[in-house]
Symmetry: C2
Subunit: 194 residues, 2 copies
């Protein structure tokens, strides 16, 4: 794999999650994530490797069209920071693949904390030394689950061998992205309320 700048998965540069693995299991139970979901996504690994960038492009196109979403990628000159966007995009594409295939172990959990932080003043812009706004507001992160869940259906439709397999994959992907956003919400949250 080509080295992706700032992609600190499984390295000491990634933040340590304050959640224990036992607490992660509780969260998985809540979203109803099971081994069958993990298997369904992992089986579709070739699909995700092939289409991850297209998926990200489709989400990025939506962001570009909505000024209230595009603004979090804009530099002090009022223009989109293309260097920042390009760097973030590579990690975004890698996230799609990781989301589908990585086991939910300590390295995975820690990297979700890292991703969450990179959407907040604690770490946004830091990796690239960029000067875009220092947060992607939480309400947009949650609302963007619309496109990441429903906007993915057109892609996943090509991923299964039959309607049942596609349904299975849609459910697994839905739970998967919900679990991610639940974890990413941590650094946004007031003490004791997460």
């Amino acid at each position: 794999m080509t080295q992706i700048s700032g992609y600190d998965y499984g390295t000491p540069q990634a933040e340590h999650s304050p959640l224990t693995l036992e607490e992660l299991r509780h969260l998985e139970e809540t979203v109803e994530w099971t081994d069958a979901d993990a298997d369904a996504l992992r089986k579709a690994e070739p699909f995700f490797r092939k289409h991850a960038e297209e998926m990200v492009d489709s989400w990025r196109a939506r962001i570009a069209k909505q000024p209230h979403l595009a603004k979090w990628f804009v530099g002090p000159d009022g223009k989109p920071d293309d260097t920042y966007k390009a760097a973030v995009k590579k990690r975004f594409v890698q996230w799609v693949i990781d989301a589908a295939v990585r086991p939910h172990d300590q390295a995975w959990l820690d990297y979700q904390e890292e991703i969450g932080l990179r959407h907040t003043p604690a770490k946004k812009n830091k990796t690239e030394g960029a000067n875009t706004p220092d947060v992607v507001p939480l309400r947009y992160l949650v609302a963007f689950l619309g496109p990441t869940i429903l906007g993915t259906r057109e892609f996943l439709a090509k991923a299964g061998e039959n309607a049942e397999e596609v349904d299975r994959l849609e459910e697994a992907w839905t739970k998967c992205v919900l679990l991610h956003v639940a974890l990413w919400s941590r650094p946004y949250t007031r003490e004791g309320l997460w």
Copy 2:
């Protein structure tokens, strides 16, 4: 309609949302909520009125089975606070109906702020003078979108006249609950990060 205790929709008792209606439209655009979604849900109003309680019962059954979820309804004696649970349930059932049929106007927006607050120390327990823990942690609120999105499929399957209509309804319901949780996350969030 029978009066539901603590159901302050459209009354001065409900908190005022800090979001403007224009900002709400941005959030709707992000989740890709359209008039067609509103129409699809409103058309299914008889279905929602008939099945809202069953839907809530199915979610409540999941909560009861998971100690990390059930604990937020437990009193100081270590037992579920049944009075509190019964009072909250009536409003939960009403929420399902409101979610499907109410227009997204100022009263609706304000009541989402109120519901969010009632999951946090600001207002949890207050309406019933209960003594359960003072928060439902945000990560569980987000993760429980699994059951409220996917666990609803078995109900919605009965709500449409054909597969296409059921799909339409599932998409509308998915966007609808995402939008609600995005709004409910407000009082959990650190200053400036929502």
